[in-house]
Symmetry: C2
Subunit: 356 residues, 2 copies
């Protein structure tokens, strides 16, 4: 694992960039999309790599090239198992990147794909992943334009890892990013939450249980297009994947220095998710989604945007779940069913690793 | 490894797409950049994923978006060890993708980066990789615009894997791709070959030996720009990475249905590479390079392009090594020092895995 140590002298005097919690080694939570992930990006990756685009730390960057305004995004996918109810690693790899681009208002046009294969993996498995990827790309209306394959020795890797990157055009006048949330914005979620995480969990080795849910993994470009037809002035879009809705809301609150108030009763949580989460001790607000978005919409457009979402197949059960406020900037607060309030923290790691 | 098998019923009736050599499992050679890699792409990935851009199977695709002609490319990086004489996995990740874009005539503008970390990896190692990536990006004049981090359990992965994707503008009038090689083209290599593979090999666990070479890992965008200032009508550029110069030439010969004749004596092979290859039983023509290119140039421009290359630091020892001919289409032939000829095959796998 530490090849570097054998090939290169130890770096002396290196100190952990605070506040990396003084952990000298990578832990699973660094990949969980929560506070540990954010700290790694903010204190380690951003200073080392940072350009102006990366500094925004959004789902996708918006860059200008040859006069075109492009959204550009990447994600790696390590989900286990490779196939799960309602989808596969290939569906995640296509839709995850398509959706990251959609969160900038862009329609995905081209994807790259990197296959990282473990020696000994069945060729039939690779073929099924590739076929699922092709089907997902055609469904999302995106073209896979370039690719790469690497193979690592048996015992490294894990069958198939994927990476996709994508580019798409941002329409003129559209400027959607977390910093644009302002007090008064209405917070809308496009449908049931918690479904993807519970679906993957239901087939996880050693955890298998019967639950009647399938992953919501789906492309959101069309839904976003329908919303933009109402107004180009959407303030923020996020797809609440790793870390769930709670993390997405927390990141927006922090980026824009606004408070967010959520009404717990308004959250669309399907019964099978509620029941599975109750048994397993999970909170649906922290469970990953792969076909949902949360939108921060100026109040004057909220009704029309909600109506447009409900007219689209991917937003049929869209609901207003809360609003942006001036109070408690950077913090998300939930009004509970009993009339109380509780703080919705960004989790440190992820309740469940390898769900995407 | 075979999560899919436990989570999903066996696919019956699936037959290996011929001619995948009837291997039911992935072998290291599928990632070697040689014939096995090409067969996997041609017979498995391309039919499943194919759009028109992917069908060209070039180092980078050229796509049009918002009126801009963009080169788009991706590669994953799994080199072992992470740091080697003359570079690191981060230098490869930046320069590999920058160079793939340059092989379409594009200056890289923006990169994405995906970090795939193994639980338990030292945070200091990740920091050193990130810092090396930032330095390499600044040297190459490219901005890292977007990124992602995933963590896999200890025992999967291998410390750090990287993926980069990149986009860059293709200048007007430039159309560089393997199919454009024609008989009469002069074949020029930009400098010493075989250096990267030997440098990595020299520090590989269990194979360590003393050799006075450092990897040639470097960005080639500036060299390509200098060549394009002579003429936009360069026919083909390839960076001979996995599979070395022999594979790059073989792929061009096959794509354009031309013969290629190489004069062995004209190949610039530095003495330490010659000596290391002699001891290890390797052929320098098959050893990877990470800072070299091979160009197919119309005869009337060859002298001027060669002069421009020699005036650039990355092409100071550029040399004409052969030409395109009408005879033996699809085949590369070397004229040996003794006046004979030999066929230069595309290798089946790679002499040495995990060199990039």
């Amino acid at each position: 694992m530490q090849d570097a140590a054998t090939a290169w002298p130890e770096v002396t005097g290196w100190t952990c960039p605070a506040p990396l919690r003084d952990t000298p080694r990578i832990v699973m939570g660094h990949g969980g999309g929560g506070a540990l992930s954010a700290e790694l990006v903010e204190h380690l990756f951003a200073p080392a790599l940072a350009g102006p685009a990366l500094a925004e730390l959004t789902d996708s960057s918006v860059v200008t090239l040859g006069g075109a305004r492009l959204a550009f995004s990447t994600d790696s996918y390590v989900v286990r198992p490779l196939f799960f109810p309602g989808g596969s690693i290939a569906d995640l790899a296509v839709n995850g990147t398509v959706n990251d681009l959609a969160m900038s208002g862009a329609q995905a046009a081209y994807l790259s794909c990197g296959f990282l294969l473990e020696e000994g993996t069945e060729v039939a498995t690779v073929a099924r992943v590739a076929e699922a990827m092709g089907t997902a790309a055609r469904t999302a209306g995106v073209e896979i334009a370039t690719g790469d394959t690497k193979v690592v020795e048996s015992g490294h890797g894990d069958g198939v890892y994927l990476n996709t990157a994508g580019i798409g055009l941002v329409p003129p006048g559209v400027d959607i990013r977390p910093k644009r949330a302002v007090p008064g914005d209405v917070v809308i979620v496009s449908g049931d939450i918690g479904v993807h995480g519970v679906a993957v969990l239901s087939v996880r080795e050693g955890l298998g249980f019967d639950v009647e849910v399938e992953s919501d993994c789906a492309p959101l470009g069309g839904l976003v297009q329908a919303m933009l037809e109402v107004t180009p002035n959407l303030h923020v879009l996020r797809d609440p994947t790793r870390g769930g809705l709670a993390t997405a809301l927390g990141e927006v609150a922090a980026a824009a220095s606004v408070g967010v108030v959520v009404r717990e009763k308004a959250l669309p949580v399907p019964d099978p998710v509620t029941n599975a989460c109750a048994v397993l001790g999970l909170d649906p607000m922290y469970v990953a989604n792969e076909g949902k978005l949360v939108a921060f919409v100026p109040r004057e457009h909220a009704d029309a945007v909600l109506a447009a979402m409900r007219s689209h197949p991917r937003g049929a059960s869209a609901a207003v779940i809360g609003e942006c406020v001036e109070a408690h900037p950077g913090m998300v607060v939930a009004r509970t069913g009993l009339g109380g309030t509780r703080v919705v923290d960004v989790p440190v790691g992820e309740q469940l690793p390898r769900i995407c």
